[in-house]
Amino acid sequence: MSAAAARDEAERERRALERTWAVPGGFLGWFKVSDHRTIGKRYIVTAFVFFILAGIQAALMRLQLAIPENTVLGPDRYNQLFTVHGMTMMFLFAVPVMEAMGIYLVPLMIGTRNIAFPRLNSYSYYVYLFGGIMLYAALFTNTGPDTGWFSYVPLAGPDFSPGKRVDMFAQLITFTEVAALAVAVELVVTIFKLRAPGMSLNRMPLFVWAMLATAFMVIFAMPAVVSSSTFLLLDRLVGTHFYNPAEGGDALLWQHLFWFFGHPEVYIIFVPALGIVSSIIVTFTQRPAFGYTALVLALIATGFVSFSLWVHHMFATGLPLLGLSFFTAASMIIAIPSGVQIFCWIAALWRGRPRFQTPLLFVVGFIVIFVLGGLSGVTLASVPLDLQVHDTYYVVAHFHYVLIGGAVFPLIGGIYYWFPKMTGRLLNEPLGRWNFWTLFVGFNITFFPMHIVGLQGMPRRVYTYPANMGWTTSNLISTFGALFLVAGGVMLIANVIRSARSGALAGDNPWGADTLEWSTSSPPPVYNFLELPVVEGRHALWERSADPPVVTGVRSDKREVLVTDVMDAEPVHLSDMPIPTIWPFISAVVTAGFFVTSIFTPWALVYWAVPIFVALTGWFWPKQGEEGDTLEDKQAIPAESAA
């Protein structure tokens, strides 16, 4: 047929897809949306809002600690602040924002049209949102948890924490874990079953590998903390004795369960960042990934080993030393995969022709900071050394080096890298450089002195300190550095807001990157790809033939996606993505209602059982306009293709 006809054909196809995948409009539509781009963006924005709130709390704490015996905040307020700061950073910022990057990017990177179980996806977002709202409603009504993000019993138990503050902690965990687990399931299934034909496992982008490892860690780590926080809630609400030594309970049980989750948690935050770093390095050196297999194995190894480290948070509890030595060894071992990755990245930078734009700056900054944090981590793995610096500011310095340096720097780099894809506009480059240097300098001024003051014997979680301890200078310097961090944060926000409106247009692939998300327009259309791609190599866009092959025969009049098999991504069957509906939102509302009510009465389960059942049924009941093939059609389908 003629070229013109073909063009009309393509145009008709495009229109049809527009109609089919259209984002529901109107006020209600806002709550119905279930496509991974919208939900992903909402997740990212919400997470950054919480990041800002936690940052403000940190600034307040630095203000209080600037000088000894300061009285800006009393102990009551200070303890609420440092607790909510930690909880927000861990549960409402770091984990959600990393999963959000996965929600937005993974389907685009593997060449499909939506994430698996999109309704579960929007449900998880609202559950997460309501959880966050609950925590901050609590904080502003003087009910902010005040026993630390680790809330050790018995301090957090019914006998020593009156009121509902700690219950807010326990329930926030439930909220965020439900959300996180849901996303983990979506990511696993998406990555295993929705990859474009040709993208066998060994051709998966490193970011996707990282998200896969993370999803598995979430799945195995988070149930432990759901259990332990439920025990805590039960102890406080219905008088169970899990943590009451006098009735056969045990205070250390909490620590074991909490850290069995808590240590993988930091790798859950850190591993996606590794994926971001790898993507940025590949793109900005314009070279294939150096040591792809090594990097993948390192990710997996990190995931496994991270489950055998939890006791190194408990060295001071007096457990038998022999056992402790095992955990020392394990904690040392985890340094190996991290080392391998650092070496590979340095090698990649050595070999390639690096273009020093903002994203790569953040990656280099990441290496500088993270290696130091990793090394202080190695010192903490040693039992005797840990016995001295455990619960001092040395540890505070360490985990800010690994979490801000190891996760937030790559994340911001990733924002600078993918912002054009998400909005169609580039972030301002000069401002970006300023942003990087302010954050980098500010970070080191703030957190490096904490190593020192920690080694001078300053404990963590103190709302003030005496003047004669020689801690004053370091603390003053830290507070001074915090100003830079605030400035850096403001720059980032300013840059995002300005560029989103008036930034330079990006085009499909501004960085000349290799992964599939850059093959579609920026921002991507509602259907992600006009024609589902077929992948020909590990670096999809760099290794594709002149006239790249595509998938044909996917219907455009219904939300159909191609399901492929786990190993080699061979097409298996087609699947209809559910259409947008309000029910996931309603389900999230009743879930939230249930969680919040159960802070106050055990009867919550009874009150909310029926609403929950109704909401879930409404969710799963087949909707108008998503009918699939029926028994009648089956007769029509030839046998061999039906099998």
Binding site: F220, P223, T240, G248, L631, A642
Partner: protein
């Protein structure tokens, strides 16, 4: 315009697939892994607390075996109608699917009722001591699974009696629901042994 031969044409593929070929299976299995991990953490808690005290159960009587054993049998037997429903779904036999789902529902009702008697026969309250707390939590957690799976199956059963029951996809749902039922039964075995025999043997 003419495409290179490498194009992948998928027009003829079915709109659903059973087992690990389909997405639903992976979703179900993921949730089974999550809940399984949760069961394990509570079981670990049980044995951890056991190690904290010299005698087990501490200062209360052993739970009586009767109702727990009865329920175990009911659960095991319930696998038969569940299996038949699953099989019927896999060869798209709507009639048999309906039949066996209803039978499975009957079993579900049975073990929910018996479960009530089980709680009564535990001989300890959740706020008596840590042993009581963990036993009630184990039982409560599993009962929640029984109840949700029962209701879930109920909804599916109703669904299969409507016009939606003729959609091929639903048969996949039935099959995966059967898988989840197996999980609920399987997860009961360690809990049964723990709750009823750990006090006697340990």
């Amino acid at each position: 315009m003419n495409r290179p031969a490498a194009n992948v044409d998928v027009a003829a593929l079915p709109d659903h697939a059973f087992g690990h070929h389909g997405m639903i299976w992976w979703g179900t299995v993921s949730f089974m892994v999550i809940e399984g991990t949760m069961f394990i953490t509570v079981l670990v808690t049980y044995y951890y607390l056991r190690l904290r005290v010299p005698f087990w159960p501490p200062s209360v009587a052993d739970p009586s075996l009767t109702w727990g054993t009865v329920n175990t049998l009911i659960l095991l037997v319930s696998c038969i109608p569940n299996h038949l429903a699953k099989k019927a779904a896999e060869d798209y036999d709507l009639g048999r699917v309906r039949l066996w789902l209803v039978v499975a529902m009957a079993f579900g009702l049975a073990f929910l009722v018996v479960r009530a008697f089980e709680f009564a026969s535990l001989a300890v309250w959740w706020d008596t001591n840590a042993y009581g707390s963990v036993v009630w939590t184990l039982m409560g957690l599993h009962t929640t699974h029984l109840a949700t799976d029962f209701l879930d199956t109920g909804v599916l059963t109703v669904l299969m009696f409507t016009r939606h029951g003729r959609e091929l996809r639903r048969f996949v749902d039935i099959s995966e629901n059967g898988l989840y039922w197996y999980f609920v039964v399987a997860s009961w075995i360690p809990i049964y042994l723990t709750v009823y025999f750990a006090p006697r043997w340990l």
